[in-house]
Amino acid sequence: MTSGVEAFLEGVVRTATPLALAALGETVTERSGVINIGLEGSIIAGALGAVVGAAHGGVWAGFAFGAMCGCAVAAIFAVFAVTLRADQIISGTAVTLLALGGTGTLYRVLYGSAGAALNTPTLGPMPVPLLSRIPLIGPALFAQPSITYVLYALVPAVSWWMYRTHSGLGLRAIGENPAAAIAAGVRTKRVQFMAVLFGGFLGGVSGATLVLAQAGTFVEGMSAGRGFIAIAIVVLGRWNPLGAVLAALVFGAASALQFFFQATGSSLPYQLFLVFPYALTLVALAATRGRTSAPAALGRQNLDQG
């Protein structure tokens, strides 16, 4: 049996994992100047896709199908926000509504209108030999479901791509000044489309993680606002991959503290605990003041340069 602190730290990483995955993808999307409010939609689609996929081919098929579903939702968003250059916020809002309603509808079609308590196979913790023995942080970081290790690998990979390849450079330039990127020969729409798809892919993986590494079931609306939290985490993480993961951990820690405090049997109003992650995020933002560098052209679809 692990100690209380270790259990708490494990909870931190567990809670942070789906948020970090989604935020990592959204970081890439936002760096291309596109803010995808429809991320919530990709997450919920990923969750339903995971249930369906896992029912047919096991856990990893669940992840694969969940990621595909997340991608598909993002593709709808991209057609409107990137191809047609419709307003990103409206498109994202509509896509979220579409995906929340769509997954609900499909779920009822597949499993009956009163729902069914689905049981999917789940990933148990997979301790890494040696590393998981490190006192305190070992179990938290290295006795997690394997999807967490995928996240660990993704962070340096995405960072490397973003900062050490020309396509990554192009991506960042579009987010800062699309006119400059266009003038330099970057194929803006193509890059943005791919960036949105990548964000949707990880959003789908995030939703699949909720099902396949955590809840073990699908529930309508189970994304429960994580897409929006992930967007906030991207800001807190200052639009870079490592920052996103660290910010997700801050948020995860605040949530785990919330769980911890409620479990102490305290008589304080529970809303005080529920509000904790949000209040802490505000404090963290104020404390880490300084140059916050949002991609300058984030959310602005007007690429006309006079």
Partner: protein
Amino acid sequence: GAPVENRKPVTNQFKVALVTTGPISDQGWNAGAYKGLLMIRDSLGARISNVQTQTPAEIDENFRQYGAQSYNLVFGHGFEYQDPAIRVAPSFPMTAFATTSGTRTAPNVAGVTFAFSDGAYLAGIVAGAASHSGVIGTIGGTQVPPVVAAFKAFEAGARSVNPNVKLLTAYVGNWEDASAAKEQAMAQIARGADVIFQDADAAGLGVFQAARQAKTVRVIGSNSDQNEVAPEVTLGSVVIDLPRAMMMIARDVRNNTFKGHVYQLGDADGVVLWVANPKLAGEVSPATVARLDAAKKVIDAGTLKVPE
């Protein structure tokens, strides 16, 4: 001649509507009510309609629309519906409004309260006896009156077996975040809880998952019979037979015996039940079973005051 059968208002068709605040696929509170609505359709031949309201503002709108369409009975499934029902009902005297968890009444407004506490008290007895650690947990969706009452009764039941039992309570903050509910359960397990009573609808499914992972922890389900969700860790479920309750009211309306009063339905009416999981019957000692039977008798006789 032109077909006229659809033109004529079907004045004599019995029409029943259900308004819920959450999705009817929540496998709990709202799903039960929807099953009740389907049962009313199937056994009373009623025409049914169902709406999910997002916000208090939409409640009046739906009540008025149903009233205007001469629905015979409208269920408002939750305490939120009682004020709007009182407000709207005078304009539609031919429509009966029934609000679950409501206590305010008017000539055509009835409240329906479930003595969910009866079942929860019994569940508390089982939990108190089953817990080795002396720590038991309760996890709710949000802190709404029926959940608060259920947890109090559960605690009282557990204390009747083990006066020193320690109760942990957590609220998820919503009814659908199964992942967060699982984390709440794991946090309680880390604090020693080994029996957890969940009343969080769909989110509560995460609690079963936590117990599964922990293996030695037991869960008690609620609202519907959840014994099959995770048979290897579920001691039993506190079931509200919402279809049965709704049928009773619908029959009253159809037979013109509906009165604007509060329907108080519990164990004795067969509406609130403790359903033990037969697969884990071995974990409940004969002494506990005897206690349960005794408590049930006292409850049905109305002499046990389960704390509300």
